[in-house]
């Protein structure tokens, strides 16, 4: 089991022949034909919705393709379940770690298949063999780690390395690394790359997904780009530039459709002013001003610190340093209660988990944030709440049926509107919209944007965050670009395009 293939052969060659996948009317992947050679590191790039994650899911056996063939090492394969992909020699390492922190490295590697020995007819775990096997594997991969050490004592970087060691114990021919570095510091990234190079020498086909441009040039041999579900092209990294890759990802970029918006008056006092706000390890020295009626977009890749920044301003997470002024008044001692009273609202990114109380009625969810405003002297009644509920249902066009039914019975788009309505009932002066369009259908997305525009027209100042850069370009009046916890640029959405914005969000590419 631990015999890692030593010869560089074609056993790990991975070829796709006209592979496609449709979800209903949506073509997520169309006639994808490509060959990933063994013994090389292949970058897989593409913006959200390009079909990249569909391809990963097909390869991991999570979803089945609608058509086409997958050939591994000259043999055609069909995956009905993740186990099939596993048996074909494909191992995926996800961004989220799947280790049990309290167990040792060795136990984690062999979890679910611990070696057993029989003493007097009683089967028990063979600890000696387990740690011997694990140690051999670790040494084999050039890792100086004690197999008996609990995983919880390791840094996140080493945990990621153990995760890959675990993957390698299955002796895969194809290793899929899905943004493995997003949580790692530079030194840990180097450790990881050393491991990847070692595996490459052994003939493992490595498919590497990342958002960091500089990593492409450091570790990858080729780059394959998907766009709108189709293969946009493949390029040898030796011949590539950051620009050429970004161009392949976005193609001919058109300017987003924006409604005509009136000029924002930025001469007066800012509604929200942030000065050198810092939360250690999340974001640092963030300063900006937000004006009445303005929608300020924050663009950045996953993990850039956008959500963390908004949560800290809102008082949901600590803020280590910095100053916040609301309406010119200095804010002290942040808690969500205080920020709410000061006129701030926040619609969180994951509405299912933290935006709504799923078991309570739509009615109650629309009044959660405004209880003390609706009630007088602490007394409240459903009749008293009803005007507030009805107003939001009408204004936001929430399809709720009976508002006394649990909010969990609503569609994603309507649930999102309930989250927004809950906050609009507090009549805020500043609203933070964190990924308001995630997981909602196209029509609901349009409606949500229109709600934001309408509110801004009435004077609401808003922060708008979305992973979809197109949306930030479309919705915002002004855009701050965030990278690794810092504001690195401010752009005017009418003066930029998707390609440029994306390039700003990525970390620095190869020096020209």
């Amino acid at each position: 089991m631990l015999d890692v293939a030593k010869d560089v052969s074609t056993a790990g060659d991975l070829a796709f022949h006209a592979v496609s996948k449709t979800y209903g009317a949506t073509q997520a992947l169309a006639d994808f034909t490509h060959r990933f050679d063994a013994g090389r590191v292949h970058a897989l790039m593409g913006k959200n919705g390009s079909g990249k994650s569909t391809l990963v899911k097909i390869l991991a056996g999570v979803t089945r393709p609608s058509g086409g063939r997958i050939v591994i090492g000259g043999r055609e394969r069909e995956f009905h379940a993740p186990q099939d992909a596993f048996q074909a020699g494909i191992v995926t390492v996800h961004q989220e770690l799947s280790l049990v922190p309290s167990l040792s490295i060795g136990e984690n590697i062999f979890l679910g298949r611990l070696p057993k020995k029989s003493v007097l007819g009683i089967k028990s775990v063979d600890w000696e063999r387990l740690h011997a096997d694990a140690s051999r594997l670790l040494t084999d991969m050039g890792l100086d780690l004690d197999s008996r050490q609990p995983v919880s004592t390791l840094s996140v970087g080493y945990q990621q390395v153990v995760e890959i060691a675990k993957a390698m114990s299955f002796n895969p021919r194809i290793l899929l690394l899905d943004e493995p570095t997003s949580a790692l510091a530079t030194r840990e990234v180097n450790q990881l790359f050393a491991l990847v190079r070692r595996l490459r020498e052994r003939g493992v086909t490595i498919i590497y997904i990342t958002h960091r441009m500089n990593e492409l040039f450091e570790i990858c041999d080729t780059c394959t780009v998907l766009r709108d579900g189709e293969l946009a092209g493949t390029i040898e990294m030796a011949e590539a530039t950051a620009d050429s890759i970004v161009e392949m990802m976005f193609g001919e970029t058109a300017h987003a459709v924006r409604p005509t918006r009136r000029e924002i008056d930025r001469s007066g006092e800012a509604v929200l002013e942030l000065a050198e706000a810092t939360r250690h390890g999340r974001f640092a020295d963030v300063s900006f001003k937000l004006y009445r009626g303005e929608i300020l977009g924050i663009a950045g890749l996953l993990g850039a610190g956008r959500t963390e920044l908004m949560r800290s301003i809102f008082g949901a997470d600590p803020l280590d340093d910095g100053m916040i002024r609301l309406d010119g008044k200095l804010v002290t001692g942040f808690t969500p209660e205080k920020m709410k009273l000061a006129g701030l609202g926040y619609t969180p990114e994951n509405r299912k988990e933290v935006g709504l109380v799923q078991i309570l009625p739509t009615h109650d969810n629309l009044c959660l944030a405004s209880l003390s405003k609706i009630g007088t002297g602490g007394v409240i009644s459903r009749a008293g709440e009803k005007p507030y509920v009805d107003r939001q249902i009408a204004d936001l066009q929430i399809k709720a049926g009976d508002p006394m039914n649990p909010v969990s019975s609503l569609s994603g788009g309507n649930q999102q509107k309930v989250v927004i309505g809950n906050w609009l009932n507090t009549e805020p002066t500043v609203m933070f919209f964190d990924e308001p369009s995630r997981g909602v259908d196209v029509q609901a997305k349009r409606q949500i944007f229109e709600i934001i525009w309408r509110q801004a027209k009435q004077g609401l100042a808003a922060l708008f965050v979305s992973t979809e850069l197109e949306e930030v370009l479309e919705v915002a009046d002004r855009i701050l670009v965030m990278r690794a916890g810092r504001i690195v640029a401010e752009v005017d959405p009418t003066q930029t395009n998707l390609t440029d914005l994306y390039r700003l969000c990525m970390e620095e590419g190869k020096p020209e």
Binding site: L356, V357, Q358, L368, A369, G375, G378, D402
Partner: protein
């Protein structure tokens, strides 16, 4: 409204009315059936005297159970109410013993009672804060209090009943007002107050939100720890109230009273349909649960079911009530 009408219109109406009634009021119907059964099978059950006694016993339990309902809806638990009730009674008796001579009997009793209320509230509130500051689950904190408060009660009394109450003090726990046991008035007043608190105040709404989704409530600007701590504090105060009534009824502060009361209180809340997962439950349901437990205990005693069997039956009832709620939940 439109959604529910359309549902009933789609099926056979006559069939549905019965079914929907059963689904909407399961415990009410079961209680009614039980009462009818007991009237015919248990000798003396239907006598006014017996029913008033059932109510009196139920009142002691119920006063605490209404507070416990709020605690459980808020997603917490309090295992210390039995010990807390004993301590409250002993404290009142102890103060009476120490200060009756200098202050007079009733002022001393009143002082003891107010002290017990305040301590009950403070200990409950602190339990919630303990969870906030040190992340100690209330299950653990109140389990510790469960033994510690019992110990404190016995320390106050020295292990013997303290019959130090002023003459006539037994009225509060054992007397009648207009022919109805005095604790029943307190019980009904507590019911009304808690029903109002949970349904018609912003605090009550916050309790449901906090228990239903703590993080969503926090991000809606609700002070979740204040809400949780207040439900626990409130229950502590109600426990002190009930404990004083119990001590008054038996005529002394006794460290060993109300043993196992916490389990009966929690059982009543659960039988009333409140979910231990939080966010779901009604004060009205707890009222039904209290009456149900009272009737079944009394009925079993009247038809000479052995005490040991009574325990077994009560256990089965708790499990059955939870199962029933789960099944009904799934069919909705």
């Amino acid at each position: 409204m439109t959604a529910s009408t359309s549902v009933s219109a789609s099926g056979d109406p006559s069939d549905n009315v019965v079914l929907r009634l059963v689904k909407a009021y399961p415990m009410e119907i079961i209680l009614a059936v039980l009462v009818v059964l007991l009237i015919f099978t248990a000798p003396g059950f239907a006598s006014v005297r017996n029913l008033l006694n059932v109510l009196r016993t139920g009142s002691m339990l119920g006063i605490i159970a209404f507070g416990m309902t709020a605690v459980i809806i808020a997603g917490e638990i309090d295992l210390s109410v039995g010990a807390g009730a004993a301590l409250a009674g002993c404290l009142v008796a102890w103060i009476c013993g120490a200060l009756s001579d200098s202050l007079g009997g009733y002022p001393a009793a009143l002082l003891g009672f107010v002290l017990a209320l305040m301590i009950g509230f403070a200990v409950g509130f602190a339990t919630g804060k303990f969870r906030q500051w040190f992340n100690v689950p209330t299950f653990i904190t109140t389990l510790a209090l469960f033994t510690a408060l019992r110990g404190a009660a016995n320390l106050l009394t020295g292990g013997f009943p303290l019959p130090t109450f002023p003459p006539g003090f037994d009225f509060f726990g054992g007397g009648y007002l207009f022919g109805i046991p005095f604790p029943v008035y307190i019980f009904l007043a507590t019911f009304a107050a808690m029903h109002f608190l949970m349904n018609n105040t912003t605090f009550g709404r916050a309790v449901y939100a906090v228990g239903g989704n703590m993080e969503a409530a926090r991000l809606s600007g609700i002070d979740i720890w204040w809400v949780k701590s207040m439900t626990l504090g409130l229950t502590g105060a109600l426990t002190a109230l009930s404990g004083t009534l119990i001590a008054s009824q038996i005529g002394s502060g006794t460290g060993t009273t109300a043993t196992g009361l916490e389990l009966d209180v929690i059982a009543a809340v659960i039988i009333g349909g409140t979910s231990l997962f939080g966010g779901k439950g009604r004060i009205w349901g707890t009222l039904i649960g209290v009456l149900f437990l009272g009737c079944i205990s009394n009925g079993m005693t009247l038809i000479n079911v052995s005490e040991y069997w009574q325990y077994v039956v009560r256990g089965a009832i708790i499990l059955g009530a939870v199962l029933l709620n789960q099944v009904l939940e799934r069919s909705r």
